[in-house]
Amino acid sequence: MSTVDQAVPLTARTRSERLIGFLTRTPIHIALITIAVIWLVPTVGLAITSFRQPQDIATSGWWHAFTQWDWTLHNYGSVIHATGMGHAWVNSLIITVPATILPLTLGALAAFGFAWVPFPFRDTLFLIIIALMIVPIQTSLVPLLKLFAEHGGLNKGYWGIWLAHTAFGLPLAVFLLRNFFITLPKDLIEAARMDGASNMSIFRRVVVPLSVPALASFGIFQFLWVWNDLLMALIFVSDPDKQPMTVRIPYLLSTYGQEYNLLAAAAFLLMAVPLVVFFALQRYFVTGLLAGSVKS
């Protein structure tokens, strides 16, 4: 900073000019910080509530927790064991991981075909896939449930929800990855072809290693989408022992509606995974989300 000031002495400002600058900007700072604080308060409130004793929650607001220092991890113990939320957390993971890997794999293969291997009706098929990107889940709930129930009871295990999420993630996967693959240098693909590499080995040895950012962006987007999904899990996972957290928490609400300590801890457990993903992989997360804006 100082080097810039020295290099361009003309822009150096007097003290009074700086003061005026600061004063005219003060409303901006106040507005921004106020909104940011308002936006943080609900989440912070939930987090603090989850670490308070039940009797404290019942008698004073969470904003008193800073003066009555009596924090505990007990709520998490009860919610994980007594209400089965630990189990539901594992279910969420069991649902989410395959429902991310399946569309990622099928989507990448198809995207490579659409980007680099010509075949008849390629453009028409791709336009259909773009149109499918925003088909509402509601048009599939009934027929898929019927299909799953009548063919081996797929809704009793996890196959139903895995397949449903795969189908709903695929159009976006194909769209995003094809648009990324097509920007890869043409010479590279052609050179590999000249060397006699098959399409499959070009895909595996050239395209996939060069496309890690795009694959990561979609993977993270899909992971969070599935982890956060309520409606599809509500319909396609009929066995209560296999239901994910998003479905179990509303049950908790109806049975333990007044036990705020348990509710807060459960909601925070559900949030923990997306928050870790968000802060660890923020860059991919934001690009994935921006790219996924065409979906919903």
């Binding site: 921004l32 940011a36 509530t49 075909g113 009934v142 449930l145 189908a167 909601a267 559900l270 968000f278």
Partner: protein, 320 residues
């Protein structure tokens, strides 16, 4: 137009990327698994649902009894839970969803745009962006629980009532989710809270893309900040604004989770929306044909966006 380098030639003067039969089959092999999954689990179900909308379904989801457009007629003229124009203000799920369209999209755009315009001027932009964006990552289920706490009528739990009570000692706590006149707006604000981060992130990126010399030139010409915002920034942001608006619109038509968690459509039926009606009629009231008609209405509302996406993609390719 940039001239593409000519494709390399083989000895015989033949192009390498010739259209051989083997290649065409190989391409199909790459896309086939995806197409099969889409066909069975997305396209066929959509066809099934559209057909079911013209039937009275049964609890096994069979095409029980063909009734033509009766489901739609009933929905639009004879179901006050879906559309009720007999009173003022009008009610029903469709009208509630219209409230969502107006207030959710309006508030998200206004707050998101204001934050973006202000945030690019300060050094702690990243911190503000993170604070506003975090709710975006959270499941609607968790957003619902968070705002159940905020809105709680118990002044030891609900910070909203506590703050209002602090400002005015005579204030009586309000059950924000318990009154038909408040409940929709309370839900809408909770969802705005979760969505503004997206609007802000897209728009800050777009604002930074506006060439600085354009704004500088306007400032030199004596244009005020407001005039610069109105005449330069807004027109240059029209494309990202339309992308964001479409995204918000799709969200609004599909909104379900947060209502399911926070109010279950209540009190009574006063916070139902289209997607909630579909769920309720199909899975609780045992009327899958009726629910299918609601799903078809959702599809019709979203169809213009589908067409727009396809058109935009085609025109982009013509340009490129």
């Amino acid at each position: 137009m940039p001239v593409e380098p000519a494709p390399p030639l083989r000895e015989g003067g033949q192009r390498i990327r010739q259209w051989s039969k083997r290649e065409s089959y190989e391409g199909i092999a790459f896309v086939l698994p995806a197409l099969i999954v889409l066909g069975i689990f997305l396209i066929y179900p959509a066809y099934f649902t559209i057909r079911l909308a013209f039937y009275e379904g049964d609890f096994r989801f069979n095409f029980f009894h063909y009734i033509g457009i009766d489901n739609f007629k009933e929905l639009l003229t004879n179901d006050p839970d879906f559309l009720d124009l007999s009173k003022f203000p009008p009610g029903g799920a469709l009208i509630n969803n219209l409230r969502w369209v107006i207030f959710y999209i309006g508030l998200s755009l206004t707050i998101g745009l204001a934050l973006a315009v202000l945030a690019v001027r300060v050094r702690y932009e990243r911190a503000v962006k993170t604070a506003i964006f975090v709710p975006m990552a959270i499941a609607a289920t968790a957003v619902g629980v968070i705002w159940l706490f905020v809105y709680s009528p118990d002044p030891d739990i609900g910070i909203l009532n506590a703050v209002l009570h602090g400002a005015d000692g005579g204030f009586k706590p309000i059950a924000w989710l318990g009154r038909p006149s408040f409940v929709n707006y309370a839900l809408i604000f909770a969802y705005v809270w979760a969505s503004v981060g997206f609007v802000m992130v897209v728009l800050t990126a777009a604002i930074k893309g506006i060439p600085a010399d354009v704004m500088e030139a306007a400032r030199v010409d004596g244009a005020g900040e407001w005039a610069i915002f109105r005449r330069i920034m807004l027109p240059m942001l029209s494309l990202p604004l339309s992308v964001v608006t479409i995204w918000l619109f799709i969200n609004v038509i599909k909104v379900f989770d947060i209502i399911y968690v926070m109010t279950g459509g209540g009190p009574g039926t006063s916070s139902r929306v289209i997607a909630f009606t579909m769920y309720e009629e199909t899975f609780h009231n045992g009327r899958p044909g009726y629910g299918a008609a609601v799903a078809v209405i959702m599809l019709v509302l979203i169809a213009p966006v589908m067409i727009l996406n396809v058109r935009r993609f085609r025109s982009e390719r013509v340009v490129a």
